[in-house]
């Protein structure tokens, strides 16, 4: 027989349980719009029954409140993070591609390449063809040519600025990773402090998930949480957990309460990879000095998107086989000769190799080089062999010397990044500028000007160091199809880029120096040379730019851009949609529903009222029993 007052205790547990449940409901309702909040639920169970040694067996002892836990499915978090890193990656790409698209676009209103080039080669040349000796027509033509060079200067400047912006953003992203990693490590510690004491750190866990959501947008993450067991008794869980966060395909970033920071180090001017790169592009290192592999194929996230924009070279990095190792004639520096077979390395017009020295990877060991030279030798069968000879830097930069056992090994510079980023567009512009200038100048210099003097060339570039312009002496030509040897420091067309593209100063001052005919004996109205210029830009057999003619430059490059931009847009949209649907799934499980909470409110209020009623009823029972029964 249980105590006469047992019922009062039972009702009391009900009152406690309802109270806890009402509080939890209040908490849920309060956090209905809190980001990352998971709804909480009171876990309760019937209290252990008391054996009362009666015929009817045990008597129920009321209710017991076990815990308040958040409702969450970690499976969806993992999926969300995997997907979120792609959202980040394509978000960056679609944003930056939109800029590139704006730079290159030509809709007839903003003067893009096609408009300017048509002004030059249709209107300008058209007028000049009709009146080949007119100083007005000539200076108009030269003026339009100037507009074309300025267009390329501006375009290259814009694209460079983009590379600079992207580089800055990479630094921001790296800082953000560091700050998030730090916060996550702190939270891990706090969670363990609470949970080792036996309760659940619901709010802290929610907060950690929000941080991981943010981190996953920047870089791909992989989160594992394992229970910590008692080392003396592996079966016993202590309640604490060890949370590991790995990034970029499995590199440890956070280990419980510790994290590894990343830092950005600007490349020096002699560490450039591409000719067109701006100074100070960032390399990333772990704080312990180890290099963080930027070009790790497993990496995704906005950091990846930014890197692909900054360094994407369409897979066209320098790569070849070491054929010989030697020394400079003065015996002070080592040289290494590398035979190349890639088409984009055989033609210097397409090449984008640093002209200020850089780092070359020779058989998996890195060396600094100061300069290089391209040699072409044609054998008796007409087979051409292309060999780059790099002059390696002295011992101040290279701690070890190159050894002969490297011969036959692979040499690379930079990484093969199969995306069309800034270096790709720069390289495309340079190829057009160089090919076009060389052929155009060749025609002009083979003719005579208005005064019967040999014609001057038109397109050149300005040296970065002073006001002088490139002269392009005949010994520096690399499009002759026969043996040649061109050093990077020569005044060759390789030095000409979209950025330094310009008009020969003399021609800008006096347009009559422009040649219009081949033979001085022919009259001034002879325009055979000008006709050849027109054929040059419209006939792809005369000037082949990516299988099209010179005037189709923008068609070629804009289709790259448009397709990349459209691809980035649609992939961004796709991943964002997937991300939304996973998030909906998460919210579906963890989110607070107002109707549900309203029901809970009514439910638990009723339970509370009932428990109170019970106490009241029992009070009346005691009243009857104590005051009125047997008195």
């Amino acid at each position: 027989m249980p105590s006469q007052f047992f019922g009062l205790n039972i009702a009391y547990t009900g009152l406690l349980a309802s109270n806890a449940a009402l509080n939890t409901t209040a908490n849920n309702i309060s956090n209905v719009h809190t980001e990352g909040y998971s709804r909480q639920q009171v876990n309760q169970q019937a209290a252990n029954a008391i054996r009362v040694f009666q015929t009817y067996g045990c008597a129920g002892a009321g209710v017991e409140t076990l815990s308040i836990e958040r409702i969450r499915d970690d499976f969806y978090d993992g999926k969300y993070w995997d997907n979120k890193s792609f959202v980040g990656q394509y978000d960056m790409k679609q944003y930056d591609m939109k800029q590139i698209e704006t730079y290159f676009d030509d809709d007839g209103k903003n003067a893009g390449f096609q408009t300017i080039f048509d002004k030059f080669m249709v209107t300008g040349l058209g007028e000049l063809l009709k009146d080949p000796d007119s100083a007005t027509a000539k200076s108009q033509f030269v003026g339009f040519a100037g507009a074309l060079t300025e267009y390329f200067n501006g375009l290259a400047g814009n694209v460079e600025q983009l590379q600079k912006d992207v580089n800055q953003e990479i630094k921001l992203k790296v800082d953000e990773i560091n700050s998030l990693a730090g916060e996550i490590a702190t939270l891990n510690k706090q969670i363990n402090t609470i949970e080792l004491a036996g309760s659940k750190a619901n709010e802290l866990r929610d907060r950690r998930t929000v941080l991981l959501d943010q981190l996953s947008e920047i870089i791909d993450i992989e989160v594992t949480e394992t229970p910590i067991t008692d080392s003396n008794n592996p079966e016993r869980e202590t309640g604490g957990t060890r949370c590991l966060v790995k990034v970029a395909g499995g590199q440890l970033l956070v280990d419980a309460s510790e994290f590894r920071g990343l830092e950005c180090v600007a490349r020096k001017s002699y560490e450039k990879i591409n000719q067109t790169d701006i100074d100070g592009l960032y390399e990333i290192y772990w704080e312990d000095g180890q290099r963080f592999n930027l070009y790790n194929a497993a990496m995704t996230g906005s950091l990846r998107g930014l890197l692909e924009m900054r360094d994407g070279n369409n897979g066209e990095n320098f790569t070849g086989q070491i054929s010989a190792i030697g020394m400079t004639p003065d015996g002070r520096q080592d040289t290494v000769s590398i035979t190349v077979t890639k088409e984009y390395l055989k033609d210097l017009n397409k090449c984008n190799l640093s002209d200020q020295g850089g780092i070359i990877n020779l058989g998996n060991q890195e060396f600094y080089y100061d300069s290089w030279e391209l040699n072409c030798t044609v054998d008796g069968n007409g087979e051409a062999t292309y060999t780059y000879t790099f002059t390696l830097s002295d011992h101040e930069k290279n701690s070890t010397r190159i050894t002969n056992d490297r011969v036959g090994k692979v040499a690379t510079i930079g990484a093969e990044l199969r995306y069309q980023g800034v270096p790709y567009y720069m390289s495309q512009m340079n190829e057009w500028v160089r090919t076009f200038s060389a052929k155009f100048n060749d025609i002009l210099t083979s003719g005579v000007d208005s005064n019967g003097n040999p014609g001057t060339y038109m397109f050149t570039g300005k040296l970065a160091t002073d006001d002088a312009q490139f002269q392009f002496p005949s010994g520096t030509r690399f499009d002759t199809g026969s043996n040649f040897s061109v050093n990077v420091s020569d005044d060759s067309y390789y030095r000409l880029t979209a950025k330094n593209f310009g008009i020969v100063t003399a021609l800008g001052l006096d347009a009559t120096l422009l040649a219009n005919r081949y033979d001085a004996g022919d009259g001034v109205e002879q325009n055979d040379l000008l006709t050849d210029l027109r054929v040059l830009v419209t006939d792809k057999n005369k000037l082949d730019y990516r299988g099209a003619s010179a005037s189709e430059f923008l068609q070629c490059i804009l289709s790259d851009i448009a397709l990349n931009a459209a691809g980035a847009n649609s992939l961004y949209q796709t991943y964002k949609d997937i991300s939304n649907s996973i998030d909906t799934q998460r919210i579906s499980i963890s989110g607070v529903d107002e109707d549900e909470e309203a029901i809970n409110l009514v439910k638990y209020q009723n339970a509370y009222s009932l428990a109170s009623k019970m106490i009241q009823t029992l009070t009346e029972v005691y009243d009857r029993l104590i005051l009125e029964t047997g008195v």
Partner: protein, 525 residues
Amino acid sequence: MRITNNIMQRNNLSNINTNKIYQDTLSTQMSTQKKVNRPSDDPVVAIRALRLRSNVTEITQYYSKNIPDANSWLNVTEDALKNLSQIVTNMITNCTKGSNGDLKSTDRQIILEQLGALRDEVYATGDADYAGRYVFTGYRTDTSLSFPAATTQNYEITEQLQNSVIDKVTKVNTGEMLNWNNQNFNTGTIAGINENQISSSEVYRIRLSYNNCEAGFAPTIQVPAKDANGDYIYDADYNVEYTDLAYPTTVMHSYDVGPNGENPYEFVAKNPDSVVFVPETGEMLLGENAYAALMKLKDEASTVADEGQFRVTYQKSDWQSGDLRPEHYYYCESEGIQYNTNYLTAAPERQNIEYDVGFNQTIRVNSTADECFKPGIGREVDDLIATMQEVVDIETVRDNIKNALKSAVGADADVLQKQLAAAEKAYTLAKDKCQKMFEGGITSLQGYLDDANLCITNCGTRSAKLELIGNRMQNQKTTFETLKSENEDVDITEVAINLSSAGLTYQAALMATGKIAQTTLLNYI
């Protein structure tokens, strides 16, 4: 699936946003009238638009600029050619008058004056210009057709001629007669003038394009070379090689006399092997044998060369105002510059100025002086004037002798009587020659008139062709503009309908969201 109020709100918001994006796209299309706003919206349309815009620019250049310019050039040319045709016609009229045997000396004077004036005018017409550029001078639009002022500049000129140009010239040998006057008639050689001294000789000649040539340079005649088998010799470029004619040229001034006192014409008539160059008149006189050698050159069907051709190279340094500049006509060399080097090759290139008037379509806008303003016109008229002047001169001498005879007596009268007989003979011979020359002049001037008319016709044909091309370009322009518009411009009706239906959808979405977001169960507790 458990749907919370937040999920509904999120979904609704996202749908409203999608609606707004669509409305934004449509209203951008509506306000820009373009289908694509960025190339990535539709790469195919964007790239095609580039090409079509380029085509429109090119056609605009052809249609709005090149065709009108070509047309003006053709008009200037045509006007000048019509003048030329008029002038040559007038020359022919005068020739017809001149070929009449019975002319009074006043008639002759008028004809002489008119021909002289017409001759001056003919090449002045050739200096027509279009916006400061001479139209008949080929590529040398900065150089006038004729020398504007007397100039001294040595040119070595090589004329490439057909042997059909060799003609026969009659020379009336008047001896000392033209030096006759009232004072000297009975002194020295003049006193001995008699009928027997007057004769006429007929010789073959090549009339070069210029008179007053350099006397210090003996011109060379070159003919196609043959090897031992009698086959023509070709050089590497398959041009026939030339070699000097077997008969060398000697230079004789018109006033020089030969070993037997003969003038150059008489000398050539008597020496069949001789070739004499008279620098004053620019004539190469050919002896019988030299003539025969040149006439032997003729075309062979089996060869590609034009063997009837031969070359004469001579020099000229003194240029009068109105003389044609040789660089517009011949291969020549002056002050170290070689002009028209390819005129002597198998494939001479004419200096045709071609304007681009369509895609891969050009039209020749100029006529060159060597087609219409030939040096022969002036030379022919010069010849005619000289001949008629000779008649006039002889007539004057004859009339003077007649007058002197009226008052003369004794021995003087005998001398004068003999002289009159000689003058009468010379007059008859000269008149005959003059009549023949003018008859011949009609024919050859008629040839030049035909040349001029042919050029006018060509100009007209080109103008007509240009007009056709212009029409076609206009059509093409419209076509390309239509294509361009179809490619990139929006169909307003379609966009307007889409826009209003998008507006409806948007309203509906807002309404639905508003209804849902307003209430929860809590409102009813």
